[in-house]
């Protein structure tokens, strides 16, 4: 279970470029839940994910994962509990290293790494089995550098890597945004399969409302660093893309009203 309470994070604080990326964000995600996070650009959805992953330390608030307080834990220590897939397909794998080596690195996520050979025969056998489940024919190319693969293939492998050791939490950061629609569809299919089979607790940031509607059991909409809507259960099931679009429009209109009211007040009183 992931419990965020009263998280705050601002960047460039004290300067003219100050951005309040997270403002009083509280959120509880139950075990096995699959949550999609939607939001406009700069709404703080990726910041939320990075705060949980430990890319930076938050200014205020606490993050608890399965009863462990990870608020001040460095990124690499949180990796014991958290699996991640990045937006950029190049971020999740080491390009110059072979497919086998990349996967073998993931087989030791968060564990002690010693002086035994990374590609032992038992690991090789296990990862061949794993890669076979992708149906991409990659199991015969374990020696070739992962950098030669397409973005979709790399993203599929990253998914496999992040979920090899069952994580307490899987973080997906717009992991299909950089792919063409067809490949994105395949990666989403694989995501669903891996999450369902492993009953993984998942937090997925996406810009695609269709994905949010089709996947998962909860939708969270963020705007200006705050959680504005939270749909779950039956309510989530009833959500369709037009409903979400309408809500976005509403959020935007509220912004404009704020500004217009400010202008009106200015005219009146200043």
């Amino acid at each position: 279970m992931l419990e965020l309470s009263n998280l705050y994070k601002s960047f460039n604080s004290g300067t003219i470029n100050e951005v309040n990326a997270l403002q009083d964000v509280s959120l509880t995600i139950e075990d096995g839940s699959f949550v999609c996070v939607l939001g406009t650009n700069g709404s703080g959805k990726s910041t939320l994910l990075n705060a949980v992953a430990g890319t930076f330390i938050t200014d205020n608030g606490t993050i608890m994962l399965n009863g462990i307080n990870i608020t001040r834990l460095p990124e690499h220590k949180r990796a014991r509990q958290i699996g991640r897939v990045f937006q950029n397909p190049f971020s999740g794998t080491a390009a110059a290293m072979s497919i086998g080596e990349n996967l073998a690195l993931a087989a030791k996520r968060g564990k002690k790494r010693g002086l035994s050979q990374v590609l032992s025969s038992s690991i090789l056998r296990a990862l061949k089995e794993k890669v076979k489940t992708l149906n991409m024919g990659l199991e015969d190319r374990l020696d070739s550098p992962i950098g030669k693969l397409s973005g979709g293939q790399r993203q599929a492998l990253t998914l496999l890597m992040s979920s090899w050791l069952k994580p307490d939490l899987l973080l997906l950061d717009e992991h299909t945004a950089a792919l063409d629609p067809k490949t994105a569809g395949k990666v989403i299919e694989l995501t669903e399969q891996i999450v369902t089979e492993g009953k993984l607790t998942t937090l997925m940031v996406t810009h695609s409302m269709q994905q949010a509607v089709n996947l998962g059991d909860r939708i969270i909409m963020m705007h200006q660093g705050r959680i504005r809507y939270d749909f779950r259960g039956e309510e989530k099931k009833r959500m369709k893309v037009p409903d979400l679009l309408f809500l976005f429009d509403e959020l935007r209109r509220k912004d404009q009203i704020d500004k217009r009211v400010a202008e009106l007040l200015e005219l009146e009183y200043v």
């Binding site: 971020s91 794998t93 080596e101 990349n102």
Partner: protein, 309 residues
Amino acid sequence: MTLLIGSITIGLIMALLALGIFISFRIFDFPDITAEGSFTFGAAIAASLIVAGINPVAATALAFVGGMLAGAATGFIHTRFKINPLLSGILVMTALYSVNLHVMGKSNVPLLSQNTLFTWFEDFSNNISGKDAMVNLIGWSVPARDLWTLCFCLLIIIACSLLLLWFFRTNIGTAMRATGDNDQMIRALGVNTKVMIIAGVALSNGFIALSGSMLAQFQGFADVQMGIGMMVWGLASVIIGEALISENSLGMVIAGAVVGAVLFRLLVAIALRWGMNPNDLKLITAAFVFIALVLPGIMKKTKKIKLIH
């Protein structure tokens, strides 16, 4: 022929330097200029300890450890205080200059009448082949001890290369390679990249100091200036190795660095023999590395232009 064997021997000693530079530059993408200081540091440690009567093997091993400490200092300054890699290296290199003078007590320590690794090799040769024996090598008469020395150096460098190859295939070694390749990814897999960088730069400088300590014993003195230009020298060796070996499997890349170091030393020996002014050596080495770095890009551009027209 004697000259050739001597050059190859020095080339093999410099191959250790090339391995060190390979680790920092190629595996970690860390332009580590500490090399210039740690090369001399290794020589200084080994020379002073040998003069003090310590066993040469122990002295050489301690030189390796000293180099590792110097590298760890650079890695620590970089990761802990977020100082740019180049500047971290320059700081440690500059500090090492004073340290080296303190270790040696003066700017030059002669080793000619001392027991070094190489006098051991000579003794071994005298016992096996007889004193001052000459060996017929494809028509050339060469001193047996030079040949034995060469063989020992070859053995040492092969052992070091295999050790490195083994290490970079272990779980921890692979994590190090991944740190240089994609630190974001390996952090997400639970590896403390700061520790990896410190350990990697330490390992690199250990090899560089080892190279320095062996060169000092081979040439019979340690000098406080002997590290100058060594980083570029090592880089030149690595680049030659990469040009020779197009394959990028780990074993071949390591072998490439070793062969590159020997070849580069041979090229230098030939150039000096043809009458190149020794004072120009560093200028030409730098120019060579510059060209090797720039050439691939220019070739790509001209190819593109040809394709367009």
